[in-house]
Symmetry: C2
Amino acid sequence: MQLTPPPLPAGAKCKRCSGRGQMRLPSHNTIFCSDCFLLFCRNAVAKAMKKFGIPRETDLLVAVSGGKDSLAVWDILNELGYRTRGVHVNLGIDTFSDESVRAVEEFASSRNLPWSSHSIADLLGWTIDEIRPRTRRSICSICGAIKRQMLNRLAVDLGYGTVVSGHNLDDEAGRLLGNILRNRTQYFDKQYPYLPSPHPRMPAKLKPLYRLESHELRAYCHFASIRPHSASCPYARGASSHKVKEALNLLETKMPGTKRDFLFSYLRNRKPPQTDLSELRLCEKCGAPSWLPVCSVCALKAQLDAKRGEPEPRPEG
Amino acid sequence: MQLTPPPLPAGAKCKRCSGRGQMRLPSHNTIFCSDCFLLFCRNAVAKAMKKFGIPRETDLLVAVSGGKDSLAVWDILNELGYRTRGVHVNLGIDTFSDESVRAVEEFASSRNLPWSSHSIADLLGWTIDEIRPRTRRSICSICGAIKRQMLNRLAVDLGYGTVVSGHNLDDEAGRLLGNILRNRTQYFDKQYPYLPSPHPRMPAKLKPLYRLESHELRAYCHFASIRPHSASCPYARGASSHKVKEALNLLETKMPGTKRDFLFSYLRNRKPPQTDLSELRLCEKCGAPSWLPVCSVCALKAQLDAKRGEPEPRPEG
């Protein structure tokens, strides 16, 4: 369930400039015109950057999928005067990945921003479409691990100390609630929108959109004339994270501000976690930081490569 | 949103005795006939009583509203061989309270169980119907405080050390999630289905139904030929606790067992809380345990009594 845009009362005015109201924010109990709304979003990101002490001179590598969130965060950081470069990971998911590159390309050229796309097939020799029928593990968790490792590597290769992602308030509140519901206390430590670099080969991770809701970012793209890739990943259907977000949106509709209060009150007394990396080594095969002699991505690659000669598994269903 | 009874596949059999399946329990991934289902519910309560170390000889005062949960817990404890007495608090809510007495009376005489009804008007001089238009505070929170104090007092007067209530898994999981969402950490300590008596005038509080879901208790009453009072309190509409339960039921429908896993994993590492009562005194007016010189119920009574001469406020709406 996506939250539908909250209806605007007839003749509503912007509460900031008294212009024509174009966007209602129930969780803030306010209404903005398009310009003041864009400013509101940029201020939310500026607030996050200030909170985490990221100076304007920091070079930022923005992980872009072509969806509304990653294009919005890239646009906002650029508007705020940060030097950014986009990096796209091509997962090799049929038309989904092509669409995704198209949206990034269109946005980057409209803003004249540097970017590059990198295929996981170059790293692994396999695409997600090829991996999925060859594994029993959840493809979402495999894909996540590959993306994380590729982004770490690209940051090191391109000389960036900080990777930005487009995770928004709904993502973060949903992740927190999901971990609480399953009592996954081991993940609580990493539930913070800024993780400083714990190792020269692991850049800092930054989520400057954690103060903005999903429906606000959809509206941001609309008002900023950004055309994001709107399809969702064909393999993520039925993911439990979607169901948790749906439950939170149900509460949000009935009690506006629930998501925000929940996440913010959790974050209020926390600080960026300090990770103990004394046990960390480097993967024997690729040199990536790893807790085991061979990292999970190289272990997966070895498993897949061993089956290379076998006939292609029949598609499911 | 109440969970609708999960549909039974045609020709379904009881997984325990192979008799005709009559009740599907998605969160346990099983199906029972009516007899095995009644046994399942009684076992769940027996497990709770064992966990909290409540011996069969304990005299139990059961707080009964006439709803499905309180009548079910009374019936189950009686079936398990506990000596029980029902106690009903008459809140004075128009036809709702009359209906509530009727259901308790019918059940108690069918089982030949001792019980009595006590009106809050006798304690306070005011009914909930009279208090509601005279206060700006939430009537649910006032009503809760009055009921708690009346039950404490009745337990002392009737010589009972333990008060049982019919709170079920949905109530407890909903309360926990509500407190987590609002970061009300001060209430976490009391989130336990057994609170030992912390003071001679405060009996132990026991919730033996915390392992059973709301829809299971509705079915229990059906199969045990109990006719509960089915209306919900006219003043509780729109309560935020209902919305949180609704969100949990949404998750439960899509991921059966979510409520149970959530509550049980929270309780797993906890023990009955030890309350520090060194600061507790007795109310100057009524002698009830209180943190302030005058307890909240006597303070409310004084406020209401001061307005006694004033004309009755006009009904809302």
